[in-house]
Symmetry: C2
Subunit: 242 residues, 2 copies
């Protein structure tokens, strides 16, 4: 789904004018001229939940900004066991710079809107723009911090603590200031029970049982499977092991 790439008097391409990724994403680091050249080569894509964005060991020829939705990154074992190794939200940059083959798989966990551009175009811009590279370094460092936090959860927490940690993770994405104020918070899970299990290194059944336990203990309320209300986030945090 391609869009017109007209350039406004200010020099900012028209489709970028109202784009959220321009403030928080890579595009925010570019000057008008660079943004124009990127916009010329870019296109907006809408993907249904479940669609594959990047295949394992597949040559990647595009990078993207996530404009909305949740993308899950997974790795698998030859016998079919799967582990989700990262979640990305808008306005994250999606793709592994400086490497032709992807070692991971990316899927849309919800409906997703992307702004995609060719690998080559971005790599040219990286060479010209230290600010862009600085932005990428910062996002990568943040992802590394998150991955290491999650390693602690995977390696050392029990099933209940894992599920509580997952709910907190999602709650904090919805509202970053979630536990200090201890307000009640409600949200829809962006993932199925199977996906949650693959994220936590558990089985579907164990995830379900821990959710039931939290429900019985009055820590959360669940309706229609995906909708969660956390009455008291502090009680949830206490059960998360940290």
């Amino acid at each position: 789904m391609s869009e017109r790439k007209d350039v406004q008097p200010s020099g900012v391409p028209v489709p970028c004018l109202t784009c959220d990724a321009r403030s928080g994403g890579v595009c925010g680091t570019l000057d008008a001229e660079q943004l124009a050249s990127l916009a010329k080569a870019s296109s907006k894509k809408r993907l249904e939940s479940g669609a594959e964005l990047i295949g394992d060991a597949q040559t990647v020829e595009a990078y993207s900004n996530i404009l909305s939705g949740v993308v899950k990154l997974t790795k698998g074992l030859p016998d079919g066991r799967e582990q989700i190794v990262g979640l990305q939200f808008a306005p994250d940059f999606l793709g592994r710079p400086f490497q032709d083959e992807s070692a991971i798989t990316a899927h849309a966990a919800t409906n997703v809107v992307l702004c995609s551009f060719p690998k080559r175009t971005l790599e040219m811009l990286i060479k010209q723009s230290p600010r862009l590279e600085h932005f990428l370094l910062n996002q990568t460092l943040r992802e590394l911090d998150e991955a290491r936090d999650w390693m602690l959860t995977l390696g050392r927490k029990n099933a209940l603590e894992k599920v509580a940690s997952y709910l907190l993770l999602i709650a904090r994405y919805i509202d970053p200031a979630v536990d200090p104020d201890s307000q009640s918070i409600a949200f829809d899970l962006p993932m199925s029970r199977l996906e949650i299990a693959d994220f936590l290194g558990l089985t579907i059944e164990t995830v379900s049982r821990q959710l039931t336990k939290l429900r019985i203990d009055g820590v959360i309320a669940v309706s229609q499977n995906r909708h969660i209300v956390v009455a008291n986030p502090e009680r949830l945090r206490m059960r998360s092991g940290c």
Copy 2:
């Protein structure tokens, strides 16, 4: 342990002339002048196995190059459970740029030699040198790839597969071309059983039992606890789950 910072005719500081980190590490990205200013502020440090390099939630005022030895990065839960979230080898750069408080702890896993320099000095150089920032982005991307590989191991492999994967990881560090050629390989483990357990999300006893199993099956030979001989790396790889 400070050294003389004399500058050679070529412009390269004397102590850097013979330093391995100058080819593979951050210093390789600097010109003679930048290297001189970094060398002026740097000092070589020797640390005993077990020494703490960076404390959790402690203000970090130094970055380092690892000149030799193995550094382990750990995260802990309030109740004392621990998880190793990364291993770093020479000539890795050690430290979390652009953040004052460390969220992780770093310890010397073996005797370690570092070349340390003040945070400020390096951050100044980063601003001047896109090549340096590019190097850091590349190392960070590599660490992120490793962390995600390890998440799959932590979340989805059983105890035997985890121990086999760990042995392969160390063997590959000793000799990167380890399984294609399937030559026998021998090495000393840089970590105790407790550290291996904390790396794998297991207990000491389970690690020991899996090593015994691999020994009985003839996949490895163990002498004096730390010395390992892998007769046939391919058989080890087959037990690693991938």
